[in-house]
């Protein structure tokens, strides 16, 4: 009843996520709103909730770094994009994505030693090996292949599972769970069942690693927490679950969309082929351009906040659009152009503030390595279908269903 009433009053606001004429670019309305009404009203298409939409880069950083906004997804007006009823969502404890300080700080600090710049640089060699193994398999198989199924989804997933210490035979459990978690047509029953399976598996794994620690992130996380018992065992489980959930689909879609973008922009691809050291800056540009987790920094306002010309009132929901911020022409010259040499490229694809993606350096490294390796070893890679036939997903994470390629 309540949600239907909301839907009616907000009927005149643009629905979010918004439509795109160019499936690779941002919704066209973003540029118009940024110019005309940089902080505007929207209606969430899945839930019917009303919310604010922030489209400017400077507003974005100001708001997301402000301690007066909360990431609590269980707050009534937090803008949601999943069809699962709030009561059911609330039956699962908040993950790190949705905790505020000081609780968030305690959880985050259990992970920070695992994601230092130095430690991630130490993963470079293994990441390159994994990328090579996947490209070996593509070459063995021969085109056409679905890049999403054969590389983009399994490769980052394998890297994350290796990091955490999840045995290869069990990795499919997590894959199936994520697919349901982010799907817009997932039923509450499917959602609940997938949760039970994943939690059950992680409980078993944590018990094993508590008894017999190995050289992996999960074992170290358990040991680190057991020194001072900062959080509960269930929280440790949730941290592991969040790392998988946060990395899987996002990385996969970034790989696929980046390949698509390079194939569509042959002059940029030629630059990368001519100078492989551009892989890191190409990765950054793709992260900026696509910003696949557009509404990843949705928030709810804890106290009235003046932002630009408006006052965000306590209790209201806000979608601070990552994609819109990353296409703000005040910060990024010619933002609609993909330029793999763009410098500086201070994008906010990973958000900002205390919730900034802890794995951002891993993602950048991985994406750079995959793009460099793929086009070095298969320089004739091309689409096996017309761009018009590529099916895009307008889900919480932007991406494509599949990407048939050949060579």
């Amino acid at each position: 009843m309540t949600e239907m009433a909301i839907q009616e009053t907000a009927a005149e606001y643009p629905a979010f996520p918004m439509q795109r004429a160019d499936p690779l670019g941002p919704p066209e309305l973003y540029a118009e709103l940024r110019e005309r009404e940089p902080i505007s009203r929207i209606r969430m298409s899945v839930t019917g909730q009303e919310a604010w939409l922030v489209t400017r880069y400077d507003h974005y950083r100001e708001l997301i770094r402000d301690p007066r906004v909360s990431a609590d997804m269980y707050a009534d007006n937090y803008p949601r994009q999943i069809p699962v009823p709030l009561e059911l969502l609330r039956s699962v404890p908040r993950t790190i994505f949705h905790l505020d300080a000081p609780d968030h700080t305690v959880h985050r600090r259990l992970l920070t030693p695992e994601f230092t710049y130095r430690r991630i640089e130490g993963m470079r060699e293994r990441t390159q090996q994994i990328a090579d193994e996947y490209v070996d398999r593509l070459l063995e198989k021969g085109g056409p292949v679905d890049l999403m199924a054969e590389l983009s989804l399994p490769m980052p997933s394998q890297a994350m599972c290796e990091l955490l210490g999840i045995p290869p035979a069990d990795r499919h459990i997590y894959h199936e769970w994520i697919t349901l978690l982010i799907g817009t047509d997932t039923t509450p029953e499917q959602h609940a069942q997938a949760e039970i399976t994943v939690v059950g598996h992680l409980e078993k794994l944590i018990a094993q690693k508590t008894e017999h620690p190995e050289d992996d992130l999960l074992s170290r996380l358990i040991a680190r927490n057991n020194e001072e018992k900062l959080v509960s065992d269930r929280d440790v489980l949730n941290l592991a679950r969040s790392l998988i959930a946060g990395s899987h689909e996002t990385s996969a879609n970034m790989i696929t969309l980046s390949v698509l973008a390079l194939l569509r922009n042959p002059e940029q691809l030629a630059l990368l082929k001519a100078d492989p050291s551009l892989d890191a800056s190409a990765a950054d540009e793709m992260l900026r351009y696509f910003s696949v987790s557009d509404a990843g920094t949705s928030r709810v306002v804890l106290e009235d906040i003046e932002l630009g010309d408006v006052v965000l009132r306590k209790g209201e929901g806000v979608v601070a659009s990552i994609l819109a911020a990353n296409h703000d022409p005040e910060v990024f010259t010619d933002p609609g152009r993909i330029d793999i040499t763009r410098s500086p490229n201070n994008h906010v694809a990973f958000g900002t503030g205390i919730h900034q993606c802890i794995g951002h350096l891993v993602v950048k490294m991985q994406l750079g390595i995959v793009l460099g390796t793929l086009f070095r070893r298969i320089p004739d890679l091309r689409l096996a279908i017309d761009l018009d036939d590529v099916k895009f997903k307008n889900a919480a994470i932007r991406g494509v269903e599949a990407l048939p390629v050949t060579w």
Binding site: R65, T105, R108, R109, L111, T112, P113, E114, F115, T116, Y117, R118, R119, I120, P344, N346, G351, T352, G353, I354, Q356, C357, I358, H360, L361
Partner: protein, 65 residues
């Protein structure tokens, strides 16, 4: 340029250490910011300012002395 790093605010994103490893690092135990030097050489001032601006937690302060 003089730098001050606030480890209480730091969220260990590593934006600073990956941008200017000659000036910023993260300790192994906690993964939080540590200054290699609090007075970066003048050639690095530009890139240090960029790293400071990109710190998600605004944990690095710059003063002019």
């Amino acid at each position: 340029m003089r730098l001050n790093a606030d480890r209480d605010r730091c969220v260990g994103a590593g934006a600073c250490a990956s941008t200017v490893p000659a000036v910023f690092e993260q300790d192994e135990e906690e993964g939080l910011v540590r200054l290699v030097t609090d007075r970066p050489e003048s050639a690095l001032v530009g890139v240090v300012r960029r790293a400071v601006s990109m710190c998600p937690a605004q944990a690095i302060r710059v003063s002019s002395e």
